[in-house]
Symmetry: C2
Subunit: 522 residues, 2 copies
Amino acid sequence: MITGKNQIAGAFSGGGSHTFRTVNPVTGDENPQEFFEADQTEIDRAVNLASKAFTTYRDTSGTSRAVFLEAIATQLEAAEEEIIAYYTLESALPEGRARGEFARTTGQIRAFASMLREGSWVEAIISNLEGKLDIRRVQCPIGPVVVFGASNFPLAFSTAGGDTASALAAGCPVVVKAHPMHAATGELVAQAITNAVRETGMPEGVFSNLNGKNFEIGQRLVMHPEVKAVGFTGSINGGTALYRLACTRKEPIPVYAEMGSVNPVVVLPSALREKRDFWAEQYAGSITLGTGQFCTNPGLLLGIEGRELDSFIEALGEAIGQRQASCMLHPNIKSQYLEKRDEVLSLPDHAIVTAPEPEAEGNFALPHIIAVDAESYMKNRLYQQEVFGPFSIVVKCKNKTQLIEVLQNLEGQLTGTVLSENTSELQEFSTVINVLKERVGRLIFNGVPTGVEVCAAMVHGGPFPASTDSKFTSVGLTAVQRWVRPIAFQNWPDTLLPDALKNNNPLNIVRNLNGVMTKNAV
Amino acid sequence: MITGKNQIAGAFSGGGSHTFRTVNPVTGDENPQEFFEADQTEIDRAVNLASKAFTTYRDTSGTSRAVFLEAIATQLEAAEEEIIAYYTLESALPEGRARGEFARTTGQIRAFASMLREGSWVEAIISNLEGKLDIRRVQCPIGPVVVFGASNFPLAFSTAGGDTASALAAGCPVVVKAHPMHAATGELVAQAITNAVRETGMPEGVFSNLNGKNFEIGQRLVMHPEVKAVGFTGSINGGTALYRLACTRKEPIPVYAEMGSVNPVVVLPSALREKRDFWAEQYAGSITLGTGQFCTNPGLLLGIEGRELDSFIEALGEAIGQRQASCMLHPNIKSQYLEKRDEVLSLPDHAIVTAPEPEAEGNFALPHIIAVDAESYMKNRLYQQEVFGPFSIVVKCKNKTQLIEVLQNLEGQLTGTVLSENTSELQEFSTVINVLKERVGRLIFNGVPTGVEVCAAMVHGGPFPASTDSKFTSVGLTAVQRWVRPIAFQNWPDTLLPDALKNNNPLNIVRNLNGVMTKNAV
């Protein structure tokens, strides 16, 4: 049952005087439930209780945190039907996507639980060579974390998404600033987490869920002295503003913001020649998936001009032209989409590849593709901005040198893709690939950038403005590294050391023992 | 031979119109050599050549970078006598310290070389379970790094210090902003690096050394768009200002600043009782080592009030009272020391444990210790500021609860120390230890905080303001992690993968292969 209230350390709280409602994107109507915005008292209570919970939660064993995470996954599954119903109501995303994202969410929570049970993620290092000091270091949780939910992933990047799961895994309490577009979905997920907190006897302050439509609520959370780090998924403007705000604190804290990207795709001649229809179809799918509302949406395709590129563009236009209109996440997202798209369309020197005629009605959208020569693309900086939605630009480069120039002038990106059917061609274009590599967090060969696998090797992040800190990923197991810091113990008595560092290795984890990775005792 | 010029990518450059001289701290006189401050053209040239060098240096093998680092160490050794002569002239630190720091500097350069030869530091992760995408990630260098030399470590934290060595190891070109107090030492070290660049055929832009007394030179370096990260060792004000400045850039970059700390030492009752004279003598040494000019200088000793603490204070005062005056690094450092010390001395409610009578002359200083009760200490925030020099405060707490309260109110610290002779006492004071742990990067048992071992497990960093990013250390092998970011390769052809990720593991490194740490091929 949805109450519209904040959940603070296990208790419902609706003391604020400001309320808001979510919108049904399909009809444009407001949903009936009122949500109470968190006020300053509630913000303080949530953070202070998180800080108090930290004093015990930080010392819980990996196994007990694994049990907690697994209980969250199970509680989510118990509420699956209700969650899916609100998810589709609030986001207009289709049920198939909802089920897929739901499974990914519980899957990644359980993956973090497995990581905790295995235990080596704490990166234990023991240096105790003869004649030297005995020094041992291990990763320890940093303290209360604030997580901002994302509009486009109500489950996998929101209340119980990757940021929350990784922070809880690390040993950090979490205060979620729920995304106002899917507050009901968020409340149901928060209830599942709260149930799991009770069931597994965790300190109640370990999780709170706060509602807020006003940006100030997020800003206050970021500025709260007891908050030690922030996870954010959203726009470049929003993420950068919070990052810069956190830097002005008396004690600055990191803001790990995963933001915008146009995800350049370099289509090399052999791919145009040998796989034209295949890639046209694949990219028609990737560009329109989720109405283009993915951070890994391919917004920029690059090729060398000529008959083969023209033919590919034509095939792409045809494949995309057959797509149906689909609903966007929110009327505001639709209007921002149109605004940004039309800004780009107002630039000179491009050709329409495919355009919606007529424009889709209401909150629905149809894909829109344009083509432009590299010179014009580089001359008009606005061509490079991310247009969040089903919009892509094909850039025609005169030659390899100009292709390199375009890539060199790109901002940081989450992904970069290369399509090719020929190994010697890859050698020929090695500079292109090297330049692309410096711009991205993930390189993809012969694939599409949408579809971010949750695994240990994933990097979902990249040079600014793809993310605020290219050292870290918000997807995959190493996402946990954002919420820990190393502490070294010098000459510390064995009985007082964290288990990960004790002589006899009671956790049976892999440790760096004087340079050797081993499970051996000291 | 000292030229007073900047060294930019192997060439001497002295085009600027501003010059300065270093000072002989013992006499207070200026040394004869003029040093040319870098101007904007020189800053641009150094950074742009670093950026150009990056396009090849980033792809050099670990082995070739190891050869380069070892050549730096050897070149330094060839110039050892001249370096030591200028080091002692410019810093007034004794020859024994100079030799020790020299050996540490070449030792840590060679330790990074060994790390490169072994190769596993790149943290290769391969996820390719059946039915999933093949994704592989590896740490890659981020680009040109600016390193600020430190006043108190002309070798180990300056031109060829840990920041430079770790950045060069990572594959990042380095532009050093030399510390103006030891510009001649810096120039000699820079010449050794330049020789090593030539000898091993590295791209010349991989290293430059710029002089500057004016803060603006450092600020311009931090704001240069081609600079991708900054290493800094120095004051809280200086480091925080650069950190905040970097955050205002169009593309924000990380500033890893290792700054101030008072390094609290908790002296538990059994240590007072059983090891009074031993610890009094040890701490007299630690407080006065290098005239107290260490970032790990113990500026704060905490104990439970009573006859035993009083007796310890008396013994400490006696041990310290026997110390000779020693010379500080620079007249400015002496005057800042006196200013900050006298600010603290002007606070109410403390007792003098030992004070210099008469005050040491010129640029020399004698240690100064005061004792204060915990209540007054907490009431007057200024008691907590770092006084860079041979000054320490002993805080008398009424009981364990008050000791905890003092620790809870401390800012972040590089180190925290516990002295105890009794295991059950450690249990009794476990909350004290836990609170201390949250404040520090390194915990020390029965030791002194000065003397930072260079090893894989070292953490020299801590919660703000000890450093700007508590995730990283500026000493020890993991210092390299500041200069890299992970890149993931999805479905990437084996021949094009970095060697660290290739199927047959040609580097023979330990990799995380689907969760198992192994040297096995894929």
